[in-house]
Structure formats: C-alpha cells, structure tokens
C-alpha cells in the first residue's frame, strides 16, 4: 500500500464510512418488509415460489428493464468492435472434447430444469439462463474453429427475443389484464413460463456473446 496521501486519505474515509454504515445498520428495526403482503397476494400470481412471483409478477417491470440491461450490454460490446478468435491455441487431445460431449447435454438439461422449476421452487429464468450460458461457453471453448454461429440477424433476433416477448405480454396486459405489465387473470402461470423460457434463452445467448467480447461477424467497414 503506497503511503501516498491519496491512498491514506481514501483509506481513512473508507474506514469512517465503514463505522458509519455499521452504526447506521445497528439501530435499523427488524421488520418483515413486504413478505406479508407478498404471501397474501400469492394466490393471484399462479406461481408457488415467492421469489419468482416477485421477480416476474409483482415487480415484473424491474425484470423487464434488467433484461434490457443485458441486451444493451451486448449492443454496447458489439459497437465497440469485432471479437478475436477464441482461444488462440485450441486445446488438443481427446479429453476436453470427450468430456464436454457428455457434460454439455447435462448442463443444458440442468438449465432447462431450472427454468421449469422456477414456478414451484428455487430456480428461474436467470439461473437457468446462466447454466445454459455456461454450456454455451464450454461449447465455444471446445470447438472454436467451427464458426457456424448463426447469421448476424439470427443473433440479433435471439438476443432481443426475451425482452420483446416480455414487452409484448406486458402490452397485452393493457387491454386484457390489469394494465401495463399485468397478466390477464388465470393466464399468469402460462405467461410467466413463456416469459421465463424466452428470457432464459436470450440471457444464455447474451452471456455467451458477452463472453466473446465483440461482434462475431465481419461488418462492412471491418475490411
């Protein structure tokens, strides 16, 4: 830790902030927060698991914007430039590919189960999407030479799918259901499951594309 004045000053301020935070948290009351009203309104949501209900029904608008953040991150990374080939020296030997040939289907299965389990237990679109993304990353690392990524339009549609489906269902809530981002009564379980599946696929594709770190196709001015 170089003893320059900046680091000493920021060290002191950070320590002071830590003390303030602890003292502030010391006398905050213990409360149930919103869980009482969440439990009360669970009946109308069509899903049994409270966290999924909060994520996809009570605070659905938050989740829509959150998926928009992931999509915007992909667009921002694409606008920064092209991605270089991955990895520089491909992994030789049969162990990696042999192992992955069994592991990837298992990971995809687990991801699918997590999406499905979100309705009743802990799981859901983001966890399932992340496990699918992990299988995608493994696939990209093991077979980098095969550039059979779908065409740019396919990538763009795939990445945008999650947010588009959620927005469409949210807009359908205006005439049919209780307003924007509301599910028509009785339809909520089916619609939540549709949104979860679309969101998981889009997030999985987005995370893989973020892993690649740039435009995987050659644009007009890339030369």
């Amino acid at each position: 830790m170089n003893p320059r004045p900046l680091s000493l000053l920021s060290g002191g301020l950070s320590a002071l902030l830590a003390l303030l935070l602890v003292s502030a948290l010391w006398d905050t009351p213990v409360h149930e927060g919103v869980s009482a009203s969440v439990a009360g309104a669970m009946g109308h949501t069509g899903v049994a698991h409270p966290v999924t209900a909060v994520l996809l029904d009570f605070r659905a608008y938050d989740t829509l914007l959150e998926m928009a953040v992931v999509l915007l991150a992909v667009l921002a990374t694409w606008s920064l430039g092209r991605c270089d080939t991955l990895p520089a020296r491909p992994v030789q030997g049969p162990v990696m590919r042999g192992g992955l040939r069994h592991l990837i289907p298992l990971a995809v299965l687990t991801g699918g189960y997590l999406i499905w389990a979100g309705g009743a237990g802990s799981g859901g679109a983001f966890q399932g999407g992340a496990v699918l993304a992990a299988s995608g990353v493994m696939w990209v690392l093991a077979w980098p030479r095969r550039p059979d990524l779908p065409a740019p339009l396919g990538l763009r549609v795939g990445v945008t799918l999650g947010v588009a489906v959620f927005l469409a269902i949210g807009v359908a809530g205006l005439p049919l259901g209780p307003g924007f981002m509301g599910y028509p009564p009785g339809w909520s379980y089916g619609l939540i499951l549709t949104v979860e599946t679309a969101a998981a696929c889009s997030i999985a594709l987005s995370l893989v594309l973020l892993f690649l770190g740039g435009r995987p196709w050659r644009d007009a001015e890339d030369g």
Binding site: P87, Q127, A130, V137
Partner: protein, 97 residues
C-alpha cells in the same frame, strides 16, 4: 442439542464472514492479476455459500452460476487476451516495427 448446533453454526458464520473479508482483501490489494481473478472466483463461490446461510437459495444459484461462473470465465478470457496483447506488443516492439 439445538443450542450446540446454533452455536456451531454461529461460529461457522463468523469464520465464513472473516474468510470473505480476507479473500476480498487479498484479491483487491494482493499482487498478480491472475491471482486476483482466481481469488475473485473463489469469492463468488464463498458468496453463494453465504446466500445459502442467509436463507436465499435462489440468490445462491444465481451467484454461483453468474457471479462465479460467467463473470469468472469472462475475467479469465480477458486476462488471456491482455496477455496475448502484451506479448504481441513486445513482439512488435522487439521487431522495431
């Protein structure tokens, strides 16, 4: 018996909290990028254990899959690219191009 379990769990939580701070300190102020990235992935796993102890299994899943998994992979591949750029630079400078 319940008393013993609760006490041991409390000790476990205390240790876990201390380990988290120790790993974070090493990761942020230690030397070596690769070491920091590895410690960051370890921190992600410890965090998902913390979320389980705090009664949030969903968050534990998300932290393990996204926090440790995807972010860790992203950091490792970025480190690889950085290293390749550095050697590229050295090679260019070496050739005086």
């Amino acid at each position: 018996m319940a008393e013993v379990i609760r006490a041991s769990l409390l000790i476990f939580d205390g240790l876990l909290a201390l380990t988290l701070v120790g790993v974070a300190w090493q990761l942020l102020f230690g030397q070596g990028l690769f070491r920091s990235v590895l410690l960051f992935i370890a921190l992600g796993l410890l965090l998902s254990l913390t979320w389980v102890r705090l009664g949030a299994p969903d968050v534990a899943l998300a932290e393990a899959a996204i926090g440790a998994g995807v972010t860790g992979a992203l950091l490792l591949v970025t480190l690889g690219r950085l290293r390749r750029m550095a050697t590229g630079h050295a090679r260019d400078r070496g050739k005086g191009s």
